[in-house]
Symmetry: D2
Subunit: 212 residues, 4 copies
């Protein structure tokens, strides 16, 4: 049976909610036959990697998709690449605020997502929701967990598919923000995530040829 | 019994749906005790005014709130003012494309909304949705129906409250549009409209002091 | 001899410069034969109107064009209409922060610009710079001076042409602002203003048919 | 004597000019004592890499800074990383439109800029112009030349510093584009580029410690 581990971050930067884990919580426990394991991860460079690694050991998933908030984006964006760099304009939830620090001394400069990015985008659009590829996950904890995931796959968990999806603010977060800040309700985000996971699961069933 | 007439436009400009009337359709038939009358209006300068005038004569509402699509806006925006100008970059649904034409030869340069704009914005925000005041409804049919509504109130229907709310694209409309184009699901828009109507109804019950 | 009075505001809202008067200062003293009178006006509701009225009495201009900063806009925008409303989210430079206050108790709800808005936009574009019409000058002192100008023309100075141009931040202002905030150098703004004034002067020579 | 090679692309995508090479042309022939060699490169995946490699062989520069147009950005952005991926939504100037193609089969997934990114940003800001770091140069020819530059440095030209700067549209390009599209005059862009090159040259004089 196919297992997909889906992580979502807890709130950070003064926000009361994080649409990432809030929308992950709304996912069904099975998607096109695959078992869905949901995991809240802390918005902290070091701990998020540790919590993720433990969960992969425990659950032995076929694919891992991490979800994070990208305030200011209007669509679901599927990340293509994570880079070996930690640089933060605010402290993470453990007070860590790195400047120009590699995530892994022995890691590659970058890793590309191994989930089928384009198929996931098509899947979300087929459900009537906006989705785009993104070529930067930033340098905060979102990029860090994606980089650590792909590093761990490369070093310890060969064959596992890994990827990352950024989601917009939910509407309540933008009530006090500048006019023009986009948002998306949690149920809508969850619908998009489900469509993306469905595409990822089908890719595994089809032999998993398909990144890009 | 208080009656509120709520209009929404039909699709225009090559779009297959118009979130305006689609969200109006989702409103309940009564809001805080007021009867809600829903009316689809054509996106056409002349006909929209005629259809609106007939409906006001027939329904004798206490308040009229017109709803239109503002593609590119991320929040519900409550319009404060309508101006005596028709100017279109595309033809309306009857093929009319005015340049620099007054809407009413005997009308004022502008009319201010008489619904309680700020209370409506507060009402939407209290329901966790973004809302802002807007000082321009453009010069297409949205401004035209708002102007005609307030002109008719001034000339024929004294005491009726009039206003206009602009709503974002719904998600399906932005799937093929540039990355960054915001949207809002119809059910979310409807929730915001209901909160705005509630504030308008309460203002009428309170004596209707409150524009601004 | 044709005389054009051009006003620009002083800094406000914590900014050290205001690109409005800084760019006005760079204009030549004559444009297509018309005498150019430059006037710095305070960013204050009441004083800006008083200073403007005195200057019109003194200079007896054929046209008055007021210039103001529109932070966040990327192009020169020629305003089409000013409304009878003062509402401020920050105090003006005299500490006045009106809420929902008419600018003139005996004024119309709005006045339309009487300078040739479209010809001015074409003129700016012909010089290779972006320009657009705008249908809202907001509700702060920019709208107020435009409204007061057109009110004064209507009540005291018939035949004078009046208008308003909004200009972007200059680059130094956006160094500390969020990524994405547009700007335009003062010399570039001045080049655009000169093109706009040229179109306005030619319109006067041609008999001044042309608003819109 | 220090030599800096600065490249700029030719026009593409239907534009008549490319602000990249047009602004590079305005640079002086020496900056803080360093010799400046200017090179126009074709907006074509394969040929740009070949032309660049020849120029490095011929000029033996201490640093190479490539400059490209980033339509829609409002500031100069100094790129931090280039990725091993070619993917184009339009054909390049030689008709090549790759989908999901690595730039170099034997290259790393990504290379980080070796010019002092932050010092260059500070240098631009100190001259009163907006500048930001960027973590994506996209997947078109801009990313390709940056990737190829850093690959060549890694494989053939050790010790050379390499980087990439994205610049906004120049004003003439945005006259017909949607309202809100930012631009920057060529002379202003050139002033920013000069400040960035100055910081890069000083870093070389100081021993070149400083990426990041």
């Amino acid at each position: 049976m196919t297992t997909v581990l889906i992580t979502g971050f807890d709130p950070f930067g003064g926000e009361k909610v994080n649409p990432a884990f809030e929308s992950v919580k709304l996912l069904p426990s099975a998607i096109v036959g695959a078992r869905i394991v949901k995991l809240e991860v802390p918005t902290a460079y070091a701990r998020s990697a540790a919590v993720l690694e433990e969960a992969i050991e425990r659950e032995r998933p076929d694919a891992v998709i991490c979800v994070g908030q990208a305030g200011g984006r209007s669509a679901l964006t599927v990340e293509r690449v994570a880079i070996n760099l930690a640089e933060a304009s605010i402290p993470d939830n453990d007070g860590d605020q790195p400047v120009d620090r590699p995530l892994r001394e022995d890691g590659d400069a970058a890793y590309f997502a191994s989930v089928p990015v384009k198929a996931m985008i098509r899947g979300i659009r087929d459900h009537g929701l906006p989705a785009f590829v993104s070529y930067t996950a930033g340098t905060f904890v979102c990029n860090a967990i994606m980089y650590n995931l792909l590093y761990l796959i490369d070093h310890r968990f060969p064959g596992v598919k890994g990827g990352f999806i950024h989601v917009p603010y939910e509407p309540g977060q933008v009530v006090g923000k500048p006019n023009g800040t986009p948002s998306m309700p949690l149920a809508t985000i969850a619908k998009g995530l489900e469509a993306a996971v469905e595409a990822a699961v089908k890719d595994i069933s089809d032999g998993g040829a398909g990144s890009g």
